[in-house]
């Protein structure tokens, strides 16, 4: 953290900006879909306004300038001076993209803003606002407009000369609702005594404790001691008095009785005795000002519609709901432009004196409900959460170790101990789940970025696209959320570029000119599934097949199901676009998407319906911190293979093993030869080949879809393991993805199946001496 408090606040500001920009986009999209509700417009205005406000505080001039022009147009819309039409909303959406760029640039998280684009949008916004751009010269006009509105020249408001001078006299009716201040209708419930003894008090052999006891005779007393005045030990002057006592007497006794208690010490202390009134939980210390008072603004003697009856105040329950309702009704009237804002004559709409019985008018009840529903959140440094998660990971390991030791020592036979262990395990799991939930985040943050992408890709390809999102609130680990953006971006680009037809083609095919792309997230059996579907033309299987054959990915004889053909597009080196388009090309194919998803422990597939559209669906683990693994033994090592990669396990029969070209051992598996990798040798645990007898083969599938057999000595069982990074604790080791700690305290390496298959094959092919135990 920086020493400068403003730097820390700046960090908060940018975090807040992200939320504000998200809100802005959501609300602009609502506007686009025809929801031109005043609250939606106002929410847009507020978001831009808040960005501008914060930016102003930090002197981010470019951002302020752009936000200002944006805000001005929003203000026009808000006031109803300008209609919310299609062109305006589309311009606003593009402006929100540029605003985003400005924020990123100011944050130092993005490239500098395209000045031309920004300037062009400023001109567009100004044209929409004023009918013409305010200035041709970049910046100049807007800056001056900004200055005027920002009031960088401070406008001191002397409340008593508002009638003249710069501000025109107010030609408005006097206020009806400000009742003359009257502290009546309140009942005294007790006394608050702030007592600060002088050193002399102690010198005179008086004692606070005795006074408190004396006070206690009058009624129940609560005492608070403020020791914040006590200096550090080396500065402590033992004869001085440092403590301040605040006593609350819960009895409405006459003041003289209270004063009597302090009668003898009154000259040796600071004593402040104030009555405690009902209606307010606390009594505000008097500032000792003559009257900070209300400006004399024609306070009328009309009855205050909200003047609360005595009963209300005495109950200590002020009718806040009614107050809020009044204030809100007034606000609504103001926002709808219903003048005048204040009712002079009769406070008709308010219920008679707002009695306690009518405490919750419907509107207020609703808003109250909304207020209580809003979740309370705190912001926590991610590092702290990770530390907690790490500690819980250790806890899980310790718990497993303890359980194992107990069983090994035979203590588990005592049912008390085994019951306790079971409870501990359940509790540990629960803690683990709760901690993981802290890191869980809705995928909203990623989904929110997509409408912009869709707009840009649609613009570039000349297609018309509507994006529908669903399941934005689906939660998944933060790391997973962050890494979702790239594959989703890619698949969306692909869906629009390759999936959707041009408006003309669509109309010719009898579809609406506007294509629909749907982005959805959902939880399914402990994983998160992201689906991207389009209503385009679907996959052209003949073409996919032809290309795959041309690239040598399949042989012409190979018989493939439709699904298999569709999934060919994920193979490395496959790209259906004849020329790499600017949009989904960039030399990156779907194989890259597949790889990045698989590196997260996920899978991706596509299903397609010719003429109707395609659906990409990817499934990912909810967290990257734990892994379902198969614990296996190779040489004297215990290893963990990710369960997701294992297709099946089998005991190999010698007759199923062949040597290809007399070199590479392969295993006949379901009428198919798969390369056989000796894990112990491949990892360098053993020089001599593993005996087949007693060995076990796990058939695994790599991310690229290749199958291989991993020969190990034994399979110990299936277990959920906590992933510990090897790179952080040691260094990267080929063939090893990470490490974990097992129940017996030993470190086990988690196999990197892909690397192992690749290098294993290489080693196998250089040394062909895998001994066949026949």
């Amino acid at each position: 953290m920086s020493d400068d408090p403003f730097e820390a606040i700046k960090v908060t500001f940018f975090q807040e900006c992200e939320e504000l920009l998200g809100d802005l986009e959501t609300n602009l999209l609502a506007l686009e879909s025809g929801d031109t509700d005043i609250e939606t417009i106002n929410a847009c205005f507020r978001a831009v306004h808040s960005v501008k406000g914060g930016a102003g505080a930090f002197g981010l001039e470019d951002l302020v300038r752009f936000a200002h022009v944006f805000e001005t147009l929003m203000d026009e819309l808000r006031s109803g001076r300008k209609p919310v039409d299609d062109i305006t909303v589309r311009t606003l959406l593009r402006a929100s993209d540029v605003l985003n760029d400005h924020v990123s640039a100011a944050r130092g998280a993005g490239p500098a803003v395209d000045a031309e684009r920004s300037q062009a949008l400023i001109a567009e916004l100004e044209t929409l606002t004023h009918g013409a751009p305010v200035s041709a010269a970049p910046g100049a006009g807007t800056a001056s407009a900004g200055e005027d509105d920002f009031g960088f020249t401070p406008l001191t408001l002397a409340l008593d000369d508002l009638g003249g001078g710069e501000l025109p006299p107010l030609d408005l009716p006097p206020l009806a609702f400000i009742a003359p201040y009257a502290p009546a209708n309140q009942e005294q419930t007790g006394w608050k005594i702030v007592f600060r003894p002088h050193p002399r008090l102690y010198a005179n052999a008086n004692e606070t404790g005795l006074l408190i006891r004396e006070l206690g005779r009058l009624g129940p007393v609560t005492v608070e001691m403020d020791d914040s005045g006590v200096p550090l030990l080396d500065a402590l002057e033992p004869n001085d008095s440092h403590l301040v006592w605040t006593m609350t007497l819960d009895a409405a006794v006459p003041e003289i009785d209270v004063r009597d208690v302090f009668d003898f010490v009154e000259t040796d202390c600071d004593l402040n005795i104030t009555p405690i009134m009902s209606g307010a939980a606390e009594v505000l210390p008097d500032l000792g000002l003559p009257d900070i008072g209300l400006p004399e603004l024609g306070v009328s003697d009309l009855a205050d519609p909200l003047e609360l009856p005595a009963a209300d105040a005495s109950a200590g329950e002020v009718d806040i709901a009614a107050l809020v309702a009044l204030a809100q009704a007034d606000t609504a009237a103001r926002l709808n432009g219903e003048a005048p804002p204040l009712e002079v004559v009769s406070p008709a709409p308010q219920p008679q004196a707002a009695p306690v019985a009518a405490r919750t008018p419907p509107a207020a009840a609703a808003s109250q409900g909304a207020a209580t529903q809003a979740p309370v959140t705190i912001r926590v440094d991610l590092e702290r959460v990770d530390r907690l998660i790490n500690a819980v990971g250790e806890l899980v390991i310790q718990q497993a170790m303890l359980a194992q030791r107990v069983y090994e020592s035979g203590l588990a036979r005592s049912s008390d101990i085994s019951l306790g262990l079971e409870d501990l395990e359940l509790l540990t799991r629960e803690i683990q789940d709760s901690v993981m939930a802290i890191r869980a985040q809705p995928v909203k943050s990623v989904f929110q970025r997509m409408p912009r992408l869709v707009r840009e890709v649609a613009d570039m390809t000349g297609k018309r696209v509507k994006l529908i999102t669903a399941g934005e609130d689906t939660e998944v680990d933060k790391t997973v959320v962050e890494r979702l953006a790239e594959p989703i971006t890619h698949m969306l680009r692909n869906a629009i570029d390759h999936g959707l037809e041009t408006p003309q083609e669509r109309e010719a095919a009898g579809k609406p000119a506007e294509g629909t792309v749907k982005l959805a997230a959902l939880h399914r059996s402990g994983r998160i599934v992201i689906e991207i579907s389009d209503d385009g033309k679907g996959i052209n299987r003949q073409r996919v097949r032809a290309i795959a054959e041309e690239r040598g990915l399949i042989t012409p004889e190979q018989v493939l199901t439709d699904d298999e053909v569709d999934n060919l597009i994920f193979l490395p080196g496959f790209s259906t676009a004849k020329e790499i388009t600017d949009v989904s090309g960039r030399g990156v194919g779907m194989d890259v998407v597949r790889r990045s998803i698989q590196s997260l422990g996920g899978r991706i597939s596509i299903s397609s319906n010719p003429g109707k559209g395609s659906t990409f669906s990817m499934s990912l683990p909810l967290t990257l911190a734990v892994l379902d693994g198969m614990v296996v033994g190779a040489a004297d090592q215990t290893l963990v293979a990710p369960l997701a990669a294992i297709v099946e396990s089998l005991t190999p029969k010698p007759e199923d093993i062949h040597l290809v070209g007399g070199v590479d051992p392969v295993l006949m598996f379901r009428d198919e030869f798969v390369p056989l990798i000796d894990v112990a040798r491949s990892m360098g645990f053993r020089d001599v080949p593993t005996e087949l007898r007693g060995g076990v083969v796990m058939i695994v599938e790599t991310e690229a879809g290749q199958r291989a057999g991993l020969l190990v000595d034994a399979i110990h069982g299936q277990r959920q393991v906590v992933i510990k990074s090897l790179e952080t604790n040691y260094r990267h080791v080929e063939g090893v993805a990470a490490a974990t700690i097992l129940g017996d305290g030993r470190v086990a390496l988690i196999l990197d199946i892909d690397a192992l298959v690749t290098t294993g094959r290489r080693r196998n092919s250089t040394r062909s001496d895998l001994k066949m135990a026949s």
Binding site: G59, T156, L162, I178, A280, L289, P295
Partner: protein
């Protein structure tokens, strides 16, 4: 001459950033007791159970805006005399006029400096210690 540390203050703004900025500035001025609320409604609820000497409030907020809050405060006798400084993003004359009409004590245009905030406080409370 009141001590700044004695002025119990409630900051009302829907933006965490602005609340943090105002709080920091207030602390630099010497104000110790600072409460925060994210909108007018929350502020009104807070102030009724825990009165303050001063409210520094943004204008544009969800639920209940600054003027609504001001009106609510002035309409309820026990808290009606709370000093109120309105923050405004623009020197919006109409807003200021309305606020004056509603009984605002002073207003402050964003962005502001700590010194400007102090001047506003002093305009309301007199010179601060």
């Amino acid at each position: 001459m009141p001590a700044a540390s004695a002025i119990r203050t409630l900051i009302v703004d829907d933006q965490l950033t602005m609340r943090a900025l105002i709080r920091t500035s207030l602390q630099q001025i010497g104000v110790r007791e600072i409460e925060e609320a994210p909108d007018g409604e929350a502020a009104l609820r807070s102030i009724i159970t825990k009165p303050v000497h001063l409210v520094i409030s943004d204008f544009n907020m969800p639920n209940l805006d600054g003027l609504g809050l001001l009106r609510g405060i002035r309409a309820h006798p026990p808290i009606a005399k709370t000093a109120f400084i309105m923050l405004t993003g623009r020197a919006d004359r109409e807003l200021v006029q309305r606020a004056v009409q509603y009984g605002v004590n002073n207003y402050l245009v964003k962005p502001f400096t700590t010194q400007q905030l102090k001047e506003k406080l002093e305009a309301v409370f007199g010179p601060l210690q």
